[in-house]
Structures are given as C-alpha cells and as structure tokens.
Amino acid sequence: MSTQAQARLEQAPDRGGRAQPMLIASHLKRYFPIRGGVLNRTVAEVKAVDDISFTVLKGETLGVVGESGCGKSTLARLLMHLLPRDSGDIIFDGDAVGQLHGLPLRDLRRNMQMVFQDSYSSLNPRLPIEQSVAYAPRVHGMGRAQAKRTARELLQRVGLRPELFAGRYPHELSGGQKQRVNIARALALNPRMLILDEAVSALDKSVEAQVLNLLGTLKREFELTYMFISHDLHVVQYISDRVMVMYLGQVVELGPVDAIYAHPRHPYTAALLDCRLTVDPATRIETPPLVGDPPNPINPPSGCRFRTRCPHAERICEERMPLLGEWNNRPESHLVACHMVHAGSGHSKAPPGGLH
C-alpha cells in the first residue's frame, strides 16, 4: 500500500484464500423473551432471527432487504457480537468466532466494523471527531501521535478536510458529514468487512448519492467486503452483487441482484419490488401490491410466514414451512423459500415432482 496508508494498522492477512467466504453464518437464532404475569415467566417470544444461514463472499456486497421488524438489524448485531446469539455459528474467513481455538472477539472487531443508521447517536457527543476516529486504534495499541495521524488521513479520505473538521464536535456537523465520520471511524482499524445498517437511509437524496459514491471508492481502495442493510430497493440494486430478502426473521430469497430484480421468484420479493416508486407521474400505482402491515413477529403464522399476505397461499403453505435449501457456494445460485418453486411440494403451482 502507499505511504499514506502506512500510518494505519496493517489489514489482517487473507487466511482462507479467495475461495473461502469472508463470513459464513449458519443456523443463527435469536429469540427475545417477553415476560409477564406475577412470576415474570416468559409468556411469548419474538423470533427476531429464526434459523438464518448465509454466506458473504470475499469482495462482494451482499444487500439485505425487508420491512421493519423483519430482523435485519438484529442480524447485523448478532454478526458483530453486539448481541449474544441463542444458537448458530459465525465463521469469519475460516475461523469460528468466539469459540475455543477460534477467532477471539477482539480480532473479529478488528476485521469487521459496522456503520449505524443514526449518525448522531453513534458518535460520542463529548469527543471531537478526530478523537472518535482515533479511539479504536489507540485501544488496539497504537501510539497517540500515530493514531491522530491515522484519524486525520481517514477524515481526508472520506472528504472532510482535517484542518477544518478534526477539532469539531458531532453537533457541529450535518447529517452527511457525521455519517462520513462514522465511515472513517469504521475504517480506522483497517477492517476487511463493513456492515452498513441503513447507513444512508437518514440522509437527503443529494447527500445519499455522495455517500454511496464514497462507499464505492473506499471499497475498491481498501479491498472491502460489504453487507449492506437497507429498506430502499433502488439503493440495494445499485450497490449489491447479491441480495438476501428477509421476512419475519427468515430468509425468503437469496440470489444475484440481477436475477432477483428481473425475475423475483418469491411472491414477497415480487410485491416488494412492485412497491418501488418511479419519478414518472404517468406510472402511478393504483392497487397496493401488498395489503396490511407486516404481521407481529410474536407468534408468527404457522407454515410459511408470508401466507397471511400471499395471494397464492394454499393449504400446504399453512401446514409446512418452505425451506430455503442449502447454498452450494456458487455466487450465481438462487434460493427461494416458497412451495410454488419447489418441485413436488404439493402446491398447485409447483413444478411437477422429481425435476430437481
């Protein structure tokens, strides 16, 4: 790397090789208990993340979409170990995280960082932004002067001139500028992967475009892998290589972005895509693609969780939960959790059995 990057921590080496996925999550589960009654017993559970498995390949951007309450943010927090998981494994570049002989949490955080939606509350209001950015390198053993140099370089890199901005406090910055600081801070440990949880959702459109361009440049420059969580389907289409669609704590569709946007195979994905608004007033939507709000994640419907809003729901959808299937490690594979797609599932629109 250039002399500019020498002030920074070295990026951790690629241990598993190109073919080893950056991140493998298998059968992740996290239920939040709801307590009540005199004995404060668990009366119900919110199944925020319910048996989710997926893979993030090296150098790609995996987009994650879904309505509010579908578990996108909980998933991000599980991956970052900001929340303990109930069960499941997280494997970072071939090493299981947080297990005996596995990757220690400290090393995971060095390799994987997160940018949050609320740019203000995720910065310490009492620290000048330069110190916020320099904080993590200091914790990881970098000297004061060097950490400061790193911070200034990164601020420059994200488009904030350090001589103007380094000493400012978060309340002196606009939303877009604060989000740039958050991105600089996430890069301070020279991570290999960033989790961006609605990182541009709170920004104005013109600023959103600037930040998206910045994310693109940084990705190339620092050889980053992104997991990009958003509810904005236009933005996800623009930034992602592959897309994962979530509904009520489960993955319903996972595949390459072009395949999913051109031929969505899950009725929920299709409905979500139909809700995208265009700027052409001649194409007004007359009937809503989906009716009702997303159901409560407490006591979700039996069988397929989408069946209560699905126009194609049949008896089989109530009786049996459709499975997403195993991912075969090929980026072009397209998985769908819907009985209409699985041959011989018993749904009247399913292809005849035995083909797969």
Binding site: E67, S68, S174, G175, G176, Q177, D204, K205, S206, V207, E208, A209, Q210, L212, N213, G216, H231, D232, L233, H234, V235, Q237, Y238, I239, A271, L272, C275, R276, L277, T278, V279, D280, P281, A282, T283, R284, I285, E286, T287, P288, P289, L290, V291, G292, D293, P294
Partner: protein, 335 residues
Amino acid sequence: MDMSARPLVEVRDLQVNFVSREANVAAVNGVSFDLMPSEVLCIIGESGSGKSVTMRSILRLHPPRRTVIRGHIRVGDYDILSLSERAMNEVRGAVVSMVFQEPMTALDPVYRIGDQIAETVMRHEGCSHADAMARALELMELVKVPSPERRLRAFPHELSGGLRQRAMMAVALSCRPTLLLADEPTTALDATVQIQVLIMLRKLQRDFGMGVIFVTHDLGVAAQIADKVAVMYAGRIIEYGSVADVLMRPAHPYTLGLLSSTVHGQSRETEIEAIPGSPPDLRHLPPGCSFAPRCKFAIPACSASFPPLVAVGPNHAASCLRVDVVRQDSMALAS
C-alpha cells in the same frame, strides 16, 4: 380545472425568520404560490430548505415570540396572519388540518384513539360524546383500519406504524377540512405500507374535494400524488409547475441534480451524479442565487442577485438565469 375559480390558498411573499440572541435564521425568503380547491401541491426539498416551515406558517404553528413572519397568507376567507389566536383555533382542525411525519409524537400517548378523534369532533361541532364516537368509528372505517371498534379503544402504542398514521389521518379528517397539510406522512413507513397510505390519501382527497399541500423529500412520492410541484431550496421556491413538467422536464439545475442523484436503476458500473457540496448556511445567505456555489451551470451573473422566476412553459417556471442550457440537459436526460 376551472381557471376562473378563486384559489383556495394564496401565499404571497412569505418570509419567516427565527430570531435568537445568537443568530437570525432566514428559513423562508419570499415564497409565493396558489393552491386551487381540490388540488394537490407537493413541496419538494431537502432538510433545511424551508418546506416544513412554509407549511407550518399556514397553521401558525411557530413559536410567536421567536418567529418573525412577513407576507400574506389567505386560506378560503381567512387572512391567516391577522387572525386572533382565538379565531385561529377555529381554523385549525375545522378548515385546515395537518398530518405529521411521526404519528407516535403527534398522537397523545395517554388517551385512546377513539377519544382523540371524538375530542376534535366535539370541539368543532359541539355534539355529544356518543355522537362523536359514532363519527370516530365512521372515520376509522374510512381510513381502512381493520376491526375499527377494537382499535378505537386502543392506545397509540398498541398500533403498528401504518395503523397509527391512518388513525392520525382520521383525526385530521374528522371535521372535513377544506385544506389538508401533510408533512412527510409516509416517510417513516415501510414501502409496502407507504403505497397503501398514498393510494388511500389520493382517494380521500378526491372524495372530500380537499386541497392538499404535501411536503416530501421523495420525488417518487411526489410523482404518485401531486398535481403541481414546487421545489424549494434555501427558503425559496426555485421551480414550480405541473408534476409531469417538473419531474420529467426540469428547468432548474437543482431539480435536475436531485433527479440525477436519486438512485433508480442506474448502472452499477458508473458513479451516481451527485450534487457536490452542501446547502448554504441559512444564517448567512449569499446575495445571489443560493444554489450557484454548487451549480455546474453557474456564470458570474448568478452570484450578483437572486434570479427571478422565468416562465419556461404554460404554468411552469424556474428561477434560473440559465434555463435554456439546463433545459437542453434535461431533454437529454429524458431521452
């Protein structure tokens, strides 16, 4: 639309300043527009452009001691800025009502939904509580809340975001206002719920024959609902026209920039054409066009004085010295 009819709303040279000991913020700097009865006007702009401030001035919701409002606002037969506070209370809710972005903060958390709707009805129509509750039930059915009887007895926190927004709309519609002000009412909602609320709002607007002023930062939402569009930047309307004219044939560089920086189906290989820089500081506005420092079409004359609105078509105007050049660019974008 009947062109001879009198506009429902007339705003002339509205200026709003927020004055404190430290600063004088010029939030709105000379805004004028008309709204015909049962017309939908979308005010588009980014945060700090003055779109919400303009709208709140129509209901006089600004703190009187720290706000200086100049200009003229007429709604129906009411001269808003000269009304007494008591007369203003008669206007609010009955003639003009408003829905807000965040229903959780706009609804009172300690009262049931039904009582909140009934309160407005009783206040303006002087009917009994039972009659008002019957009316509340009607309204909840109108805004398509499922199992409305049960929801009338619910507290705001017991409803989902979409239902809360519908309940707030029921409060706003309870006295059949002639003008509805909507401040980003769908921004906090999921896309699947947003489109349901927009379709419903469109239908109610037609059924009631209401005039609607709808503030949004989302061009896609404006395309769904607006008849006319006004684009605001740094407290001024910089482009005004029919929704098709403004969104499909923009004449102001800022509108053009907003359209090209909005992500919709661009190729992943190219960067998005973002507007460089950031909006001006409203405490120290430059004398000329406020957009000139960020504008790729700017010429020295732009910084001399604020450009007047120039007609670029029937009912379509932009305040830019370089509309001809911009129009060529926007034609290229459209084709």
